[in-house]
Every structure is written in C-alpha cells, then in structure tokens.
C-alpha cells in the first residue's frame, strides 16, 4: 500500500512536471510579448527592456522555468511585484494579485460544485441503472433508457438557464445559484448550489444509468450468481449483495476517467450561473491574456485531476478485494 502510494505520487509529480514544462514553453515562447502590454501604448525600447527585466523575461526560457519551479517550493523575489512567499505561482499580469492566492480563494467554489455533482451523479445514476436492470425489458427500463439518451444529449448551457428560468424566476422554488461558504451556512450552501449540481450532473448521470444497467445485466448472467440462486438465495439478496458489488468495479474506473471531464463541465456550469470559481478565473485570464494566471490555473487543474485519480485507485482496492495495490 505504502509503496503503491509512493510510486503513484512520484508518477503524478512526473506528469505535472511534463505538463508544466510544456505549458510554460508554449506560453512564453509565443511571439506575443507580455512586457509590451505592461509598458503601454507608447513604449520606448529602454523602458521595454526594463519592464522585461522586472518581469524576469530577459533570461533564457529554461532559467525562467527553473525560477518558476523553485518559486513553488521556496518562494521568490519578483522585481516588479516584490516578495512572493511559497508556494508562489507569480502575480497576475491583469489584476496584480498573487496567482496562488486567487486560486485558493476560488477553490472552494469549484470543489463544492464538483463534489456535490459527483454525489448526485453516482447516487442517481446507479439507482436508476439498478431499477432498469431490476425491470429489464419492462416499461420502467424503457423509460430509463430513453431518458438517458436524451439526458446525455443535453447541454449545460441550455438546461441551466432553462431550469433557472422556470424554477428560480417563475416559480421561485429555489434561490438564485450562488456560493455560500459551507462553514458559514451549510443549509444556504446546499440550497444555493442545488441547481448547479443538478444541471452539471444531468449529462453525466445518463451515462452511469446506462453503464450500471448493462453491468448489472452482465453480472446477473455470471456463474457465481447462478450458483447463489441454485442454493436458494432470494432474488433480492442476489441483486443487492452479489451482483451489485461486481457491477460497481467498472463504474468506479470510469468515474476516475470522467473526473477530468467533470472539471470541464464545472467550468461551463460556473459560467452559466456566474459562480466565481476556478473556471471563471481561467476564462477571464484567457480574455486578458494573463499568462501567469493561465499557467497557475492549468497546473492546479491538472494536479487536482491527478490527485483525484490516485484517490479513485485506492477506493478501487476497497471495493474489489482481488485488487492488490503493490
């Protein structure tokens, strides 16, 4: 277990290093010069040189990358912005705020969004999939299958505003989506995020319904299920104690893969309901051409995915006793 974790974490760091190097190179090697933007419209060459020096952009690219890497672990001194304690991801070119601080401020929003949506997806997707498998071929199964086709074809930016219009504007059933810190008001946190959770999970839930159904149907045809039935086990026990466990294993695997997509969906959901999360930060950074912010958001996003994937692998071992983490 320990050696598995150590190896996975080293591998994860390796992937993050590659991603950051590629991103860094792509961002800073392009001809668009951030120093020029800083300098203003009328920019004499001497001033440009000075700005470039202050931003640390007059050094070779790999030296810049090295400084950036060291900054994450040890902090660094930036001529333009002053001291930047570790973990330092630099300062935003657009708003002059520290990148790491901005990301930390926004992080709870995106985390709450993806966390809540994951629970809705798994709970709802697995339950409907089980019902469909329980009633294979019957009307309930057909309804579940048909609605999962439609659900998977919906778009967040269409369902989101539509539901908000009917549930919030017209019927006033739930409050307008916003972020209330869970530490301040758990009930408000829940009610204000309910709609974003539902909207984000709609497109994913369909997939899990379909998958749970087919996995259950497959498991129920297995030999061990037949043995259990032959020994006189009730249908219900076979269903919920035996087949269920076997069907969950592939679901967890797919969920690990889907986490990256879920984060992408969170970006669109944040934009739909104007929640101030990491996605909104990324979109604004793109519009402002804010390189340090883009780099920071990319790395934090990638780190989130990599860490969650390790967590999923560990969970895997708990569900399936055959899996040994070595």
């Amino acid at each position: 277990m320990t050696s598995f974790l150590v190896r996975r974490i080293l591998g994860a760091l390796m992937i993050l290093l590659i991603i950051s190097a590629v991103t860094f190179y792509l961002f800073y090697a392009v001809p668009r010069d951030p120093a020029r933007a800083f300098c203003g419209k009328i920019c004499p060459p001497e001033t440009l040189q000075l700005v470039r020096h202050n931003l640390g952009m007059d050094e070779p690219l790999f030296v810049q990358y090295w400084h950036w890497l060291v900054g994450i672990f040890a902090g660094r001194e930036l001529v333009q912005f002053g001291d930047c304690p570790a973990p330092c991801l630099g300062y935003s070119f657009a708003t002059q705020e520290p990148v790491f601080g901005a990301i930390v401020d926004r992080f709870p929003v995106t985390l709450s969004l993806t966390f809540g949506a994951s629970i809705v997806i798994l709970a709802f997707g697995i339950i409907t999939g089980m019902i469909a498998a329980w009633k294979v071929g019957q009307p309930l199964d057909k309804i579940a299958s048909a609605s999962s086709v439609i659900g998977a074809s919906l778009q967040i930016y269409f369902v989101g505003p539509l539901l908000a219009f009917y549930l919030v504007d017209t019927m006033q059933l739930i409050p307008r989506p916003s972020y209330v810190p869970v530490t301040e008001d758990p009930v408000g946190w829940f009610t204000h995020l309910l709609l974003p959770w539902v909207v984000l999970s709609i497109i994913f839930t369909a997939n899990y319904t379909r998958m749970t159904r087919s996995q259950m149907v497959e498991q129920l045809a297995e030999d061990y299920v037949r043995t259990a039935r032959a020994k006189g086990m009730s249908n219900r026990a076979v269903f919920f104690r035996f087949a269920w466990r076997g069907a969950m294993i592939p679901i967890v695997t797919i969920f690990g893969v889907d986490l990256a997509t879920l984060l992408g969906g969170a970006i669109i959901t944040e934009q739909t309901f104007t929640l101030h999360g990491i996605g909104e930060l990324a979109v604004r950074a793109v519009q402002n051409n804010d390189l340090p912010m883009l780099l920071g958001v990319t790395i934090v996003g990638a780190a989130m995915i990599v860490i969650l994937n390790i967590v999923v692998d560990v969970l895997y071992a708990f569900i399936d006793p055959r899996v040994r983490l070595t």
Binding site: I19, A37, L154, Y157, F158, V257, A260, G265, V286
Partner: protein, 339 residues
C-alpha cells in the same frame, strides 16, 4: 482471407437475410459485408429516421445562403435597431415570444435585433463544419498513430503510448480554452486584429490536438489483438510487405471501430465547439455561431427565454438524432451486440 472469419459466421447466423423471399429460389446470391450491413440498417426504423434528421441538418448547413436568400434576410443586419417598433427601450422584442412574427420566424435577438432564424442557420453551418473537420482530422491522425503504435510495437509504441496517456490525463476543457490564445498568438502578431479564418483554424487545431488520443488508444489495442491472429501471421509468412499487411489485412477489420468512434466523436465536437463559443473564446462576432447564441441566451433568459429555445432545442434534436444514428450503425455493423 481478407475478411475475418467472424464476418462470414455473421452472415450465416443471420437467417433473416438468407431466408429472403427473393433468395428462396435455387440461386443463392452472395453479398458483401457492406451490403449485409446496409440491409440490416435499412430495416432499423429508428436508424433511418435519425439518419434523415441528421441529413437535414447537414443540408441546412450546406444550403444556408440559399435558405437565407429565399427567406429574404441575412444574419448580420440589425433589423431591430433599423426599424422602429420591433424592440422596446431596453432592447427586448416588443412582440410576444421573443418577437416571433411572419417576418421573423424565430424572433429577434435582444439588443442587436438581428434575425434569429438566419443566425441559427448560419451558426449551424459554422459549428457543424468545424465539428466535421475536427472529426475527420482526429480520426485520420488517431488511426495513423494507433495503427503505427500497435503494429510496430517496441519503442515507438512506448513513446506514442506515453503521449496518449498524458493527453488523456489533461483536463481537456481547461486546456481547450487555455491553448486557444496560444495557438493564435503563435500565428498572428499582437498588433494585428485576429482574422476570422484564423480563429476558425485555431479552434480546429486545438480540438484536433486534444482529441486524437482517444481513437488512437482504441485502435492500438485493436491492432495489438489482430496482429496475433492467424490470418495476419499467414500473410506475413507468405511474404506480404508491411504496407500490404496494414492496408489489406488490418484496415478492413478496423473500419467498424473507426466508424463507430467517429460517430461518437462528432456530436461531442459539436458540443465542444459550442462550449467554446459559450465561454466567449470561440468564434468571434459577427460570424454567426451556434455556441455563441447560448452566450447571448444566458444573458437574456430572465426577460426573453424564447431566444434560448431555438439554439437549445435544435442542438438537442441534432445530438439525439446523431447518437441514435450512431447506435443503429453500430448494430448494423455488429449484429451480435444487443443493447
């Protein structure tokens, strides 16, 4: 033997095909796997229906200028601002339901007052063409990389495999929006205004770069298992060149997964392109774009929800039809799979 034995057994295991009234006579007509697939597809009513819907969307995209000229309006003119009595002082259509009337079939865009019908028709044209280009590119690159990786094995396989793994670990939506300005900055000087065609090209490039890994990984696995089969070994033993093995032995067996993957990918790319437009990093004004209509829709839905319905419902119809079509094609290719 170019075709795998499984295809032959399929034909034999399909009594409905051989017991055709026309074939009940003494002459037994041989059919190619393609013909068999077509016969199975034609009998699938859902498949044919959704194929018609999908075709209609492609026709709308192709014939957008014809439709607009018959309809008599274009997607650029701000009718609502030019003609008084169409928009109120807040910029919203005066007529109910988003300003739907005999003149403006789908109403008017709040604010600018452009015609929603032509916006949608031209927007479908933009989005669908990008999705088709990206699907073709990712499929071609994915097939080349996957087959190379699987066929050569060894070090090539290792390198391509690691690239694929890294690409699939990326949070792709984040990278889509992040890399778009990078690609653009690499192609255009900061002083210049980005031309429309360049934005179009960079969207295609970014979607392709982040998209080919999925199909490559799938094909690599397929090639790995096919490579060990007897008919490939037989071809090699009899002295077939690698090119012959790949094009005459492997590829004919890969068409089914390739086409299935492509049909799965296309609606996803329509969604991804629209997502970029929605986030405000896709196609720029004034080029009509399916996704950017949602961006407008999200801003105006409190007062004018009708506007959002047209792009939303049309995209829902398209994606549902395309997914059903994909399912039917899959069933037609491989009748053993039962959903």
């Amino acid at each position: 033997m170019t075709f795998p034995p499984s295809t032959a057994t399929d034909a034999a295991a399909e009594p409905a095909d051989t017991a055709d009234p026309a074939a009940s006579g003494p002459a037994v007509v041989g059919r190619s796997p393609g013909q068999l697939m077509w016969r199975r597809f034609r009998r699938d009513r859902t498949g044919v229906g959704s194929a018609i819907v999908v075709l209609a969307f492609f026709l709308i995209a192709l014939l957008a200028p014809v439709i607009a000229s018959l309809y008599g309006k274009d997607p650029y003119t701000t009718y609502g601002q030019n003609q008084p009595g169409l928009l109120n002082q807040f910029g919203y259509p005066i007529a109910p339901n988003g300003g739907i009337s005999g003149d403006f079939w789908f109403g008017l865009e709040p604010g600018l007052g452009r015609d929603v019908f032509t916006q949608l028709v031209y927007g479908i044209r933009t989005s669908l063409s990008i999705a088709v280009i990206v699907t073709v590119l990712t499929t071609v690159i994915g097939v080349v990389m996957g087959v190379t990786s699987g066929y050569l094995g060894g070090r090539t396989d290792y390198v391509i495999g690691r690239v694929i793994d890294t690409l699939l670990a990326f949070p792709s939506q984040l990278f889509l929006i992040v890399f778009l300005p990078v690609v653009e900055a690499a192609l255009v000087l900061p002083e210049e205004e980005t031309p429309v065609w360049l934005r179009y090209v960079s969207i295609c490039v970014v979607l392709t770069v982040l998209g080919w890994a999925t199909i490559a990984r799938l094909l690599r696995a397929q090639v790995l298992s096919l490579r060990a089969r007897e008919f490939v070994e037989a071809a090699r033993v009899t002295g077939a060149s690698p090119a012959r093995v790949i094009f005459k032995e492997l590829l004919p067996n890969l068409w089914t997964p390739i086409i299935i993957q492509a049909t799965l990918a296309l609606p996803l790319y329509v969604g991804a392109e629209a997502g970029l437009g929605f986030l405000g990093v896709g196609m720029t004004e004034p080029t009509p774009d399916w996704g950017r209509m949602f961006q407008v829709g999200v801003n105006v839905y409190h007062s004018d929800v009708t506007y959002l319905l047209f792009p939303g419902v049309s995209m829902l119809i398209f994606v549902v039809a395309f997914n059903l079509l994909g399912d039917s094609i899959r069933d037609a290719f491989d009748p053993r799979t039962k959903r």
